[in-house]
Symmetry: C2
Subunit: 419 residues, 2 copies
């Protein structure tokens, strides 16, 4: 890298992609580290990620009350706003890049920190490469965030542990409710994760308390989902226990590669095989399929946004690591690092969980996905192995203090003063 | 009442109807009071409510570990199992009543405590009247429970405060997520309460923090739901804020008395007017209606079982009152009271919330419903008044300790040894 050890200028922090319970903990880590750094002259927040830069809508975070900023640990979703805006390659169209450069120059921005998933790392990578090409001295770092846990090159991602804790805890609570009648019921839980089954796998964590603690069956999108096998599994558990609770990743597909969630939709080729057309997601589709094939009460529950915004059930481990990721990205950039994403390396010793920061090339991370290893899925494709449990369990440990006002969550209230 | 002050014998505690986050706190209050009472010789739990008595399946609660019983405060749903079994009038068919008497006699049961909603109070009332008629000396008390808060004669019901706290808190978290993009979105939250809008109204509680803290619009089943007015409301908020979050009671009906949730179903008369047939509930139906009429992203979220089983977000006020209701029912019965439901009377002083136990005739409570007063709903029928807020806010105050093991809830593990 060609930068001098000390680069003086403003910094921009942005958030992008789907929110999580702890993406604001990363923002807080970055904001506080940037405020401490002598070489960082101003700390700005981009409204709605990269679009805030393109629109020159930057919040002056230096004017925020430090106590309100501290509450970002306890505030879900992306406080600065998010976006899903994909930059074209600059070889194709330089317009956006010239605009980013213009805004960076206008505010003397020398540091850019972008918190997001693999699309955001792609944005980060492209801007970094463009600034290098035009010779604008600027340090650019990616800070990982995704409940899906599918970022390449890092042991796990900030956001996953809290979503996993929500899913595991909620599955336990739902079990208590769903088996309460003696009349038998099928309960189908739809969990996020279009291509990777990390979150669905988290539904298996209560199994560490015994098989009647959480869900009975777990289906990940890494393996083919077969309706007949699924019904056999459901009927077998019903036969044994009288009730069955199933967790299914929203992304499960059949052997032809068709999403099961689209079986009932207007254009689905399988529409007629299962009766009515319908507009719901996977839980609704599976519910209607199971209803047609059993005489039990069938209920579908979609965890929807709740699994990614329930900060009140965040993992303290995840929150701490999210904060550290933001803090480290700024500290490393101040020390001269650029064009990297901070990631996690696991450093367990004697069975005790450990985790340290490592650096990854942005270009390596951008647009790639990490899926659950096939040998972490059981042979019958309706559960996970002990390796998965051992991997995920440390990430959900610890509880954040639940800070309330008038019996409800006390979230950060920022002034959001535009520059 | 003709009972002697002291009546010696065993007691049965049962749970019935839909579970709540704190119905086990009521069970704990009753169990511990019964164990302390000299005149109560054994403490039994009926498996699946009245069906456990009919089937002579009683758990010997005296054999449970007191520390595990204590965890009932932190365990959602009905630990003994529930049922929805309606007894016929004994003038019509005495079979069930004779069986109940037989089981009571077999185990020398002289106390029966039934925790449930208005159907359960009906069961309680019928058994009480039958035992009186046949001259079997027995004290029978109802302990209220319903997240719906629709029991007659009591200021509020155990279970409501915790469900309301879940709804209010979750609405705040969802708002943070649902408005995160700059592209505009309509988010529709479906809340339980078939005939009474107490729970839907709880979605308005975050409004005490300002209008951008929770949901924008709230629809209760006490007033007619008009699709055109609803769309006008939605569009107006979209115009002002760019996003809109709506809370709707599952029970809203149009001016003809038809459930909106059934608009899309196979047999609904309005099916064609709104396109595709569909199987979901209200959130799915409204989502498809709004989708057809806006270009925004529309998402429906059903709080489903989560609103009644999320003990980790229980109201400490509600949990304490639920416990007290169970405890008082037993202590009052020991003192000679029978054929009553314990209820709550509000005793606020100088604006400070207060609540004391009162007694209601079972026959008064059975099969009646208490709905939200119409003057607590705003004139535009899309929100609640300050009276509603003042009523509900004290009930969601305080948090229970979240007791965990391995990062997940530590629920009570009972041995459930059959007598």
């Amino acid at each position: 890298m060609s930068q001098e050890p000390t680069l003086k200028g403003a910094c921009i922090i942005g958030q992008s992609g789907g929110p999580s319970s702890v993406i604001n903990a990363s923002a807080l880590g970055a904001i506080q580290a940037a405020m401490r750094a002598d070489c960082i002259t101003h700390v700005y927040g981009a409204e709605h990620g990269i679009r805030g830069i393109l629109n020159d809508r930057l919040f002056d975070l230096d004017q925020e009350d430090p106590a309100e900023l501290e509450l970002l640990r306890h505030t879900p979703s992306s406080i600065l706003g998010s976006c899903r805006y994909k930059l074209k390659d600059f070889s194709e169209d330089e317009t956006d890049y010239r605009r980013v450069l213009e805004v960076f120059q206008k505010h003397d921005v020398r540091y850019f920190f972008y918190i997001g998933g693999n699309d955001s790392m792609d944005t980060c990578n492209k801007i970094s490469k463009y600034m290098e090409r035009v010779g604008y001295d600027c340090r650019i770092m990616g800070i990982p965030k995704t409940i899906d846990n599918d970022l390449y090159g890092t042991d796990h991602c900030p956001g996953f542990g809290s979503a996993a804790k929500y899913i595991a805890s909620t599955c336990m609570e739902i079990r208590r409710d769903a088996v309460v009648y003696d009349t038998g019921a099928v309960t189908i839980l739809e969990i996020m994760g279009r291509n990777a089954g990390w979150l669905a796998g988290a539904a298996a964590l209560p199994g560490t308390f015994g098989e009647d603690s959480g869900v009975d069956l777990v289906y990940l999108p890494e393996v083919v989902f077969d309706i007949d096998n699924f019904m056999d599994d459901v009927n077998e558990v019903l036969r044994q226990k009288g009730n069955v609770i199933v967790a299914v990743s929203e992304g499960v597909k059949d052997k032809y590669g068709a999403y099961i969630s689209e079986y009932g939709s207007e254009n689905a080729k399988f529409k007629d095989a299962f009766g009515h057309a319908q507009m719901g997601g996977l839980a609704a589709t599976l519910t209607s399929i199971v209803k047609a094939r059993t005489d039990k009460k069938v209920r579908g529950i979609e965890f929807s946004l709740l699994q990614r915004c329930s900060n009140h059930l965040a993992s303290a481990t995840d929150s701490r690591e999210a904060f550290e990721a933001g803090k480290s990205a700024v500290e490393l950039a101040v020390d001269g690092v650029t064009d990297k994403m901070v990631g996690f390396e696991r450093t367990d010793e004697n069975g005790v969980y450990g985790c340290k920061i490592k650096l990854l090339e942005l270009s390596e991370v951008a647009n790639r996905e990490k899926r659950v290893p096939l040998n972490w899925i059981n042979e019958t494709h309706n559960g996970v192995t002990q390796e998965f449990i051992d991997y995920a369990l440390p990430l959900i440990q610890g509880e954040l203090e639940f800070i309330t006002e008038n019996g409800m969550p006390r979230h950060a209230r920022l002034k959001k003063i535009l520059v």
